[in-house]
Symmetry: D2
Subunit: 279 residues, 4 copies
């Protein structure tokens, strides 16, 4: 029902105004500032990322034109469905041809059904985004204060709903021996120094080594759901809340360009620094 009568809308608005949505920023903003944008559209809304994407688009153009750096992200996991990625399918065309922005067609299809089912049941799901930057030369980054991987971590965890960050081998790498996880150096046919594996994710000691930069970001299930949940109101009374309106049951597809933009913004900053410092 797209059109609701005024009474219903008023009741909904009053609920949003007085009750805290669980796992949203309603309560923390109220605790810090004494006010909050309960109507939506405030700084806790993912709409805030519009500016990041706008700036990121410029950064991506500069990275491509001046340094031949290309950035691509995609959905690699939605809840328990994990895509199989490889260099062949990891193309912008494949990503953008999937409504989920997952280039593994089989996984994409199952993810779509899962998100649809979550929507119908008034629930939500999360997942993981994989991002790669190709063509970054060795030497970008900083050894202590602004390590490139640390800046990427801050950029990604600053995104709404982001709860985890990995570079290269990430958490999986903790299950390996050093002799398995180290990236052996080799000399490529073009004379460049390359590595045989890329557990480092293109960054060693905070500085790029010329391999692809690999990053993964975990996004929790959307906090705002239509199901009734326990909460409290602004007077501290326990109550329940079931959100209304159109809320995205899975932020992953729309988070892909945001992740790409944050990666571009971090990289362009370090590209300029590198040119300034090392000429």
């Amino acid at each position: 029902m797209l059109v609701r009568n005024q009474d219903t809308r008023s009741r909904d608005y009053d609920e949003m105004r007085t009750k805290y949505r669980p796992s949203h920023a309603d309560y923390t903003y109220q605790a810090k500032y004494g006010i909050r944008a309960w109507q939506g559209g405030g700084r806790a809304s993912a709409r805030e990322t519009i500016a990041r994407v706008a700036a990121g688009a410029i950064a991506r153009k500069l990275l491509a034109e001046l340094w031949s750096v290309d950035i691509l992200a995609c959905v690699v996991q939605v809840k328990d469905i994990v895509a199989e990625l490889n260099a062949e399918i990891l193309t912008r065309d494949r990503v953008e041809s999937s409504p989920i922005r997952c280039p593994d067609e089989s996984a994409s299809s199952r993810m779509f059904d899962l998100v649809d089912a979550a929507r119908k049941s008034g629930d939500s799901v999360g997942g993981v985004i994989h991002a790669v930057a190709r063509g970054v030369p060795p030497g970008w980054g900083d050894p202590v204060f602004d390590k490139l991987d640390a800046d990427l971590a801050k950029a990604m965890i600053s995104l709404p709903a982001a709860k985890g960050f990995e570079i290269g081998g990430g958490f999986q790498m903790t299950h390996l021996f050093g002799s398995e996880a180290n990236d052996a150096f080799r000399r490529a046919s073009d004379g460049r120094i390359r590595t045989r594996s890329n557990f480092s994710g293109g960054i060693q000691g905070g500085i790029t080594n010329g391999e692809e930069i690999w990053v993964r970001v975990a996004f929790k299930p959307t906090a705002t759901i239509l199901r009734e949940q326990d909460t409290v109101d602004m007077d501290g009374n326990e109550t329940t809340l079931a959100a209304r309106g159109r809320h995205d049951p899975c932020v992953l597809p729309r988070a892909v360009p945001i992740v790409e933009s944050m990666m571009a913004l971090v990289l362009i900053d370090h590209a300029l620094r590198q040119r300034g410092q090392c000429g």
Copy 2:
């Protein structure tokens, strides 16, 4: 053999000077600066974290005295051995009584044996550190530019060998429905607003909600190992390298106070900001 003759030492030094250790910062520093501290002790050495621990000690004192905030970290995983943590054993005494800094005695013992075995075989292992901040009031943090969880992510990923970061439910949370992962609000007996679960890890929308802050950091296996590995030298020739000297086969126990210090430094910054901004 603690004493080596001069010839051996010279050969070792020459190897370290001319060959890049795989997955260390040797190559990236050389690529960026044209020089590097190959003798050890440079900015890519974990010794750099001494200053962080010194400053962190002061930050922890201030947090404890002025805001009754307590910070504790411990080893929760070494390679495939995972400790079982609960509030009862998560005490400083329990952590410090373990040589691995893991408060689960059984796990600690097995971790110790595993690290010892890795040492004997000239290999190394990694793992995960869990950190908790207790007593942080609601309202610390920032809504967009310096979200508290983003600042924690940057702080942790800036540590040597850190490859992953999680806040609250982290990557595991991506396997849940929103209705499972949301932290329902309740009214505590003292009238305070609390949550029933803590998948948010104490931070919502970049701002603390008064629950414990939970963070996990993945550390890769030590890069410098005594086993022979493929690498290249500074002239680009393919060669092999087997490191000598005393290298830690597992950084986890020593990373615990470093993680605590970084958490303290981030929190004291935000404590001062909060007092400045909100009085």
Copy 3:
């Protein structure tokens, strides 16, 4: 002539597009960026200060309400005409009742005539603005990196056409002996520690001492004048330029609220820091 025919306008526009105005930012922007907003309204226009005044208005409200700090600026000199200021006439009413924003009525009248004469002769004049902050408590500021007087200097010299900055006794103070220029401490009737003179301008060692903060800012004559001047065009050919349109022959009256705003923005930053750091 408010209405000019299209041909005249086109010729004017073409002149502005191709010729560099002497002592304006035309040439430096072109040298740095390869483009410039020659139509006016770019970042080198004083219109850029609108945002500073908007933010300064909020800062002034906060300073007044939370710390009882009051900020007032006025024109103290236009070319060779120097106003005589004293505490009695240094009020907002007196300042705002003068079209020049100079509270000395006699000087204000002569300044007005001088500016009018400059306008009629197609020339321009500069001068000095005096600013005072009253009620700032002791302790605001920083001992090394962000001294309060240094931050005020940066804020003021960042204003278009600003060429000089003084705090307290400023350049005049260089003509005194230390025994004349030192501000002797005394105990006021309310028990507070005060100084007999205020050559320090309320700041000692980068930190406020509780006296009034006194600042003076020199503004050069407006660069854009209607008289013909020697210049070069974008091809490097020597030529002449006589600006058209309505250009302010003296920026001083309009710079008064801008100076006040910059002072307020610097002070509110340090007020928040002081509350954060010292509670």
Copy 4:
């Protein structure tokens, strides 16, 4: 008397511990922090500038080698004695051959006598330092947030005892008409665009125009003098204080390398930015 008996020393120390030196940072530090380094050598001591000079030495080397930029400062005024400067005598040799660091021999000699007389009478004097940067190319600086002249102002006013800052024509320029003060552009014999005068001091709109950067900094008379002065002690009682020990009656000669260092540090920052941003 270089050797004083213990009783005298103790009494002196006790005086310094309990009484505030007028126009020094004693009182403001005490007001802010509740403690201060009354023994000397704290952050309010000019000794703090050692680090600036050390870093400045490196910056000057880089500026000279990579950009052929040369920085030179000298004393242009001590109390009422004003040196006559011109390009011919403004050389490092001439500056360093004067004990006052003033290249005008006649003025230098009179300044020396004046400082000596001030020392003998237990008093102090101030003055003005002139600094020039030669060879800076057009384009360094920033249009709004970090204008080069604003950064220079902050750098200079951050120095101990600095009370005034001028760029180019400074305060004197306020006495001129725009038609007199504008720097007309001309085409030099080498084809470069130059200006006929340099009232702008090499910076227009926050960005360099390729002319010499001219800066002047006013230093007040040394606050610590041997003459008895009115002050209060830490209990708020009015008393008198006559400082003991060796205190410099004029900081100007020793401030010259400090001013040069701050200029170098600001310029190297902007040199790196310019290379980063504009390639």
